[in-house]
C-alpha cells in the first residue's frame, strides 16, 4: 500500500468511505506504542494523544497498575511524605485517548515492528517509545545480587516495596547502630538521590536514634551538590555522617548479606542496615530491543530522542544516552515532550519546533532546608548540551531554603499532573 498516511488523514471521510475496507481504515491511523509508564513514557503517551487530537492511536504498556515515583521517595523515608502520596494511577490517561495495558513487555521485533507482552498479546507499531528506566548491573557490588539479596540489603532505587522495606529497617535499628550505603558509580539515576537519601536517613535517625551512625561507601571522587550536602550534614547532623571515598577504598567494596558486613578494601565492618545502590544500565526491554550500546545505555539523536539504531524507535529518560542531561524524572518529562512533538510531526505532519530541554533537581537536607540545581539544554550535532545552569549557594538564609522546599512541593504537584493527567 503506497497511500501516504498524511494524505489519507487529510482527505478524510470521502477517501475512507471510497476504500470501504475496515482493515485499511484500522491501519490508517498511525500507531504509537509506549513502554514504561513513568515520567518519560506516560508524558509522551499523554502528549501525543492530547496534541494529535485522536489522529494517532496511542497504547501505553506498564506492568504496574499503580506507579510509585522515585522522586520524593526519599522524603517518605525522612517522614515528610506519606507513601500513598507517591502513588499515581492511570485512570486519567483514557480521557486523553491513551489505551493503557497493565502488562510486561517481553519482546520487541524491530523488523516486524511489533511488541510482545508477557500475557501473549502482540502490538504492532509505527513508532515505538521506550522509557523503561533503569536496571541493575549484577556483580557491580561483589557479594550482592538483586534477586538474592534485595530483601536483606535493599536497593530502594526503584520506588515501591523496596522503599518501604528500607524505611522499616532504619526504624528498627538498635540505638547507636550503623546505617551503611553503598553509593553507585556513574552514570546512575538521579545524581543527588543517594545524598538526599543520606540527609533523610539522618533526619529520621536524629529524631529517633540520635547516637546512630551513617557510613557512605562511595566509588566516586565527587558527587552532585556535594558542597551543599556536606554543609547541610555538618549543620544538621554533626558527627553522624562519614563518607569513605575512593582514596580510602570506597571503590573496593564487597558486602556479606548473611553476616550484615561491609568489607572496605579488605577490612570488614558489621552494620545494622545496608542500602546497596548498585551500578546501573538501561531498562531490560531496551537491551532486549537491541538499541543499547556496549555501555548498556541507548544512544539517541539530540534533537529528537530518536534511537541512533532504529528510526522508528525513541528512547527517553534514564535509559537514554543523550549527553549532558542528568537521569531524572524532570529530564525524562522534558525529553518526552520533544519526542512527542517529533513523533506527531512524522506521523501526522504537524509542525515541529526546535527542541528545548531543561532540568531542575530539588533536594531536602532537613525540615524546611531545600536546595536545588538546574540547567537548560539544547541539541548540538554531538549531544544534548548544557547551555546555562544554576545551583543553590551555601549560606542562603532560612527563608529562601524554606521557600525552595515549598517550591519543590509545588513542582511535585505540577509534574505529576503533567505526567499522569
Amino acid at each position: 500500500m503506497t497511500l501516504n498516511r498524511r494524505a489519507f488523514i487529510g482527505t478524510g471521510i470521502a477517501t475512507a468511505a471510497a476504500l470501504n475496507a475496515p482493515m485499511v481504515m484500522g491501519q490508517a491511523k498511525p500507531r504509537v506504542v509506549v513502554i514504561g509508564g513513568g515520567a518519560g513514557g506516560a508524558t509522551a503517551a499523554r502528549y501525543i494523544a492530547k496534541d494529535s487530537k485522536g489522529a494517532v492511536e496511542v497504547t501505553l504498556v506498564e506492568a504496574n497498575p499503580i506507579y510509585t515515583t522515585c522522586f520524593f521517595s526519599n522524603l517518605y523515608i525522612g517522614g515528610f511524605r506519606e507513601f500513598e502520596s507517591l502513588q499515581h494511577g492511570y485512570d486519567k490517561m483514557a480521557a486523553t485517548g491513551v489505551t493503557v495495558i497493565n502488562d510486561l513487555a517481553t519482546g520487541v521485533d524491530r523488523a516486524a515492528k511489533t511488541v510482545t507482552l508477557a500475557g501473549g498479546a502482540v502490538l504492532p507499531y509505527d513508532r515505538l517509545v521506550l522509557s523503561p528506566g533503569i536496571d541493575f548491573r549484577d556483580g557491580s557490588v561483589p557479594g550482592w545480587s538483586v534477586d538474592a539479596h534485595a530483601e536483606i540489603m535493599p536497593h530502594a532505587y526503584k520506588a515501591g516495596p523496596q522503599t518501604q522495606l528500607l524505611k522499616a529497617q532504619i526504624e528498627a535499628m538498635p540505638q547507636g547502630g550503623t546505617f551503611a550505603m553503598i553509593a553507585p558509580p556513574n552514570p546512575y539515576r538521579c545524581p543527588p538521590g543517594p545524598y538526599e537519601r543520606i540527609s533523610m536517613v539522618a533526619w529520621l535517625l536524629s529524631q529517633k536514634n540520635p547516637t546512630a551512625k551513617i557510613l557512605i561507601v562511595d566509588p566516586k571522587e565527587k558527587f552532585s551538590k556535594q558542597g551543599l550536602f556536606e554543609d547541610g550534614w555538618s549543620r544538621h547532623y554533626p558527627g553522624m555522617v562519614e563518607r569513605v571515598g575512593p582514596d580510602f577504598g570506597g571503590d573496593k567494596v564487597e558486602v556479606r548479606p548473611d553476616t550484615m558486613e561491609v568489607v572496605i578494601d579488605g577490612s570488614a565492618q558489621k552494620v545494622d542496615v545496608c542500602n546497596v545502590i548498585p551500578g546501573q544500565m538501561a531498562g531490560k526491554i531496551a537491551q532486549i530491543a537491541g538499541v543499547t550500546d556496549e555501555k548498556g545505555w541507548a544512544p539517541v539523536l539530540p534533537d529528537s530522542m530518536k534511537s541512533k539504531m532504529d528510526e522508528n524507535v525513541f528512547v527517553l529518560g534514564d535509559s537514554s544516552a543523550q549527553g549532558d542531561m542528568p537521569k531524572s524524572g524532570f529530564s525524562a518529562n522534558s525529553q518526552a515532550k520533544v519526542a512527542a512533538m517529533a513523533i506527531r510531526g512524522e506521523l501526522t505532519g504537524s509542525k515541529v519546533f526546535p527542541a528545548k530541554y531543561s532540568n531542575t533537581c530539588w533536594s531536602l537536607l532537613a525540615a524546611d532546608d531545600g536546595v536545588k540545581v538546574g540547567a537548560s539544554y539544547e541539541p548540538t550535532p554531538e549531544k544534548i548540551a548544557s547551555t546555562s545552569s544554576f545551583i543553590s549557594q551555601n549560606g542562603e538564609d532560612a527563608g529562601l531554603r524554606k521557600q525552595t522546599y515549598e517550591e519543590s512541593i509545588g513542582w511535585y504537584e505540577g509534574i505529576t499532573a503533567d505526567i499522569f493527567g
Binding site: F353, K372, G374, L400, E407, I409, G410, W411
Partner: protein, 232 residues
C-alpha cells in the same frame, strides 16, 4: 532600534552614569496622595493597609514585618532576594502585579515614568541614607524594565506558545493551582511579557525563571504570553 537600546542600557549601567536627578520630591509628595490611602511615611508612620514606607530604599521585600502580614507573592520575592532600590521600586510602581505575582497591593500602577521618578524622589527622603549623589547606591537611577514598543507590540504565535509552554507545565499547573509555584494562566499578555523580560534581564530574582526566560527570544516570550493568556 534594538542596538540603540542596548547601547543606552550599557551607558546607563556604566561607571560614568549621568548624574541624573531621580525626580522632583515636591511633585512626588502630590503623586504620593494616590498611595496614602494605604501607606504612611514620615514621623510616626505606622503599618496600615499597606506597610509604612520609611527606610524603603535598601529594604528587602517583605522583610520589615513589625506585625505586617505580607502576601505570599511578596514574601516569595523577598526570599528570592528582591531588594527595594530605585530600579525595582520603579518596576513595581509601574505595574505591581507584573513584578510581584500575587501581591495584594491593589493598585494598577503609575504609567508615567516622571510620576514614578517624582514619587520615588519623595520617598527617598524618608530612607536612612538619603544620598544626594545621584549615582550612588541604593537610589541611583539604573536600568529599568523598559521594553521598546515593538517588543510589546509583538503578536505571539499561540501554536508555538503551546509547544514552548510544555516546558513551563512541568512546574506551573494549567488548572491554575498555586501551591509553592505561582499560577500563570490568564495573565494579560503585556504583564506576562514584562515579567518574563524582567527575569531575562535578571531584575526579577528567581534563578530557575532567570534561566528559563534567559534563553527565550522576544518572539518566544510573546508566543508564551499569547498561549497562557488564552487559558482560563
Amino acid at each position: 532600534m534594538l542596538k540603540r537600546i542596548i547601547l543606552a542600557l550599557a551607558m546607563a549601567g556604566g561607571p560614568l552614569s549621568a548624574a541624573e536627578l531621580i525626580g522632583d520630591a515636591d511633585k512626588g509628595e502630590i503623586v504620593f496622595r494616590k498611595c496614602s490611602g494605604c501607606h504612611e511615611v514620615g514621623v510616626s508612620a505606622r503599618n496600615r493597609i499597606g506597610p509604612e514606607l520609611n527606610r524603603i530604599f535598601g529594604r528587602r521585600a517583605a522583610a520589615e514585618k513589625d506585625g505586617f502580614f505580607y502576601s505570599k507573592g511578596l514574601a516569595r520575592m523577598g526570599a528570592d532576594g528582591l531588594d527595594w532600590e530605585f530600579k525595582t521600586l520603579d518596576a513595581y510602581l509601574e505595574n505591581p502585579k507584573a513584578l510581584v505575582t500575587g501581591t495584594r497591593m491593589n493598585f494598577s500602577g503609575l504609567k508615567d515614568p516622571q510620576d514614578r521618578a517624582d514619587v520615588l524622589a519623595y520617598l527617598r527622603q524618608f530612607s536612612d541614607m538619603p544620598q544626594n549623589i545621584p549615582e550612588s547606591s541604593p537610589t541611583a537611577r539604573a536600568r529599568e524594565v523598559e521594553l521598546p514598543p515593538e517588543v510589546l507590540a509583538l503578536v505571539g504565535d499561540p501554536e508555538y506558545g503551546e509547544y514552548l509552554a510544555n516546558e513551563c507545565q512541568t512546574c506551573h499547573q494549567v488548572d491554575g493551582s498555586n501551591d509553592g509555584i505561582p499560577a500563570i494562566i490568564g495573565w494579560p499578555a503585556e504583564d506576562f511579557v514584562i515579567a518574563m523580560h524582567a527575569y531575562k534581564q535578571k531584575i526579577r530574582p528567581h534563578p530557575v525563571m532567570q534561566m528559563m526566560a534567559g534563553r527565550l527570544t522576544e518572539e518566544e516570550i510573546a508566543a508564551l504570553a499569547a498561549y497562557f493568556n488564552g487559558l482560563e
